[in-house]
Symmetry: C2
């Protein structure tokens, strides 16, 4: 996305997706539900998930389906994404998202839960319309993966320790599954084969995992003026992210014990140790290892798209992978 | 259901539906999600909604679909029902349901919200498998109606007044839509015509409205040892149910003003006035009018089934209507 034409493409495509969602939401009868949906959906998001559906649909040759049908299937993935954010904010008692009050703070608990329920249902309905029962199955599997990953994450957090395998399992369910499904859906709609669907899904899943890892890196290394989040927020919340897990694995006995003491401390105490932990992670190569893993995942993801012809969409999807790695917010 | 063979039929059918759900839930991988789902689903419910799907499917001649497929579509309606109860309990901060702690009290907020999300998704997936995109659309419409009715109900409650039209609109969305959809689904699966589907839906919607009205009557007139709820609970919560709305409409100026004073008072003050309000409702025929309305709805509902042959299922569905009217808990 350092390439301006690619950035322009993504910006215009996001605007078209927004337009499609605005038209779709005219089906909503209740005036307050409409207001809540507008509040939670239209916030300048990049619409990565629906973009993936449209791009993979083109990549796989479009099939019989028209542009409008692809957009309608695509927006189902944005609806699911928004629904999961709104319900997560309720669960985490979060008060801010993207610089404004969360839905349950602005509109109340009932409105937030019900708007999420509506979006789940609308997403599955749209998937059924555009891509029949296979489309519904695909979304259903992604939702199940997201829900199960939340349960696993809660267990890991309660245990206070995590393996890298658990880290990847949680990230695969929470982020990879939906991006993978968004890619697979475009190929399904285009009439692609099962192996083409698997290739698209692999790209999306890897993109999702890499996205999560870069998030973890930005949390320690990012510019909080750009990310909008305090540096070291994950440490304060006690989250065992990949750079930290890597350092815990490789640290010498004394440094490892020190990290464990910090992790066992109260959130305010951890807050004071962000700089120290960042140095320890750097000393044991945790940031470099995590970055290497993200690069590896993205490379493998892009490689799996080689089964498709080298059309323009190929380049856009590679560009998206490069953007995930280079983003600073 | 005073007829023992009919009661036996419904009990056995509920057991078969429970069996089908237990088998279906084996797809869940996460052990804690499984525990939460078992906790919220298996509580001795009568499974009215799935029973309706199976009965209407038989009534409309079964079509090409097998018994197993009908049961799998049927259980989607129980999943939706349970999901809405669990999310409603979170929204209402309810601590008890059916004599045990609510899901969010027993398992935490995250588990309750996520289990509901899973059930929504699973219900729509099952509907897609059994009845294709039309099945998904049908469930999607019911969920939308339920969500919009909750928003309307909140507005009515905030306004502190309600018309009978609003009362029926809320009840149609909260209870009628899902029962109507459960009936329509059976007929859809059997390959019934659009007019047959409409007839089934009308029966289900009326059954739902009547069910709600009888609930309102039991709240004032029921035996709390049987209903498991305190008499006058709706009044304490400030709910403007049909018997009360009828009385407010017909009461003489002084009595009406008295009712309005009570409604404007604090919950504890209203608690002390339950007996007085019950007498005023009775004086102005509120209970009789509400009961008459329920009878009328059930009669019209059963009548709409006349388009189907007079098979045994006809009798069971009439029996169910009679049960709704005669139930004391």
């Amino acid at each position: 996305m350092n390439n301006p034409p690619i950035m322009d493409y993504f910006r215009e495509a996001a605007a078209r997706i927004d337009q499609t969602m605005r038209r779709d939401l005219e089906v909503v009868g209740d005036p307050q539900l409409t207001e809540v949906l507008n509040y939670i959906i239209f916030n300048g998001g990049k619409r990565i998930r629906p973009q993936l559906t449209v791009l993979t649909w083109r990549l796989a040759g479009r099939g019989q389906a028209g542009d409008e049908q692809a957009l309608r299937l695509a927006m189902a993935f944005e609806y699911l994404h928004v629904a999961s954010l709104v319900h997560d904010d309720v669960i985490d008692h979060s008060v801010m998202r993207r610089g404004k009050a969360t839905a349950h703070v602005s509109w109340g608990l009932a409105a937030a839960i019900l708007a999420g329920d509506f979006l789940h249902s609308r997403a599955l309905t749209l998937a059924g319309r555009a891509a029949g029962r296979e489309g519904v199955e695909l979304l259903g599997r992604a939702i199940t993966a997201m829900v199960e990953a939340e349960f696993l994450q809660a267990r890991v957090a309660a245990a206070g320790k995590s393996s890298q395998a658990e880290y990847f399992q949680v990230a695969a369910g929470k982020t990879g599954a939906l991006l993978g499904a968004a890619c697979e859906a475009g190929i399904l709609l285009a009439g692609g084969s099962l192996s083409e669907r698997a290739a698209g899904r692999a790209y999306g899943e890897n993109l999702g995992l890499a996205f999560q890892i870069v998030d973890d890196l930005l949390d320690y290394l990012g510019d909080s003026a750009k990310t909008g989040k305090a540096v070291g927020n994950d440490l304060v919340e006690g989250k065992l992210t990949l750079p930290l897990l890597q350092a815990l694995e490789l640290a010498e006995v004394g440094d490892r014990a020190r990290l464990e003491v910090i992790l066992a401390a109260a959130p305010e105490a951890r807050q004071a140790c962000v700089g120290e932990v960042r140095e320890l992670i750097a000393r044991y190569g945790g940031f470099a290892a995590a970055r290497g893993k993200a690069e590896e995942l993205l490379e493998a993801g892009v490689l799996s798209l080689a089964v498709f012809p080298a059309v323009a969409e190929h380049e856009l999807l590679s560009g998206l992978a490069a953007y995930v790695l280079s983003r600073d917010k």
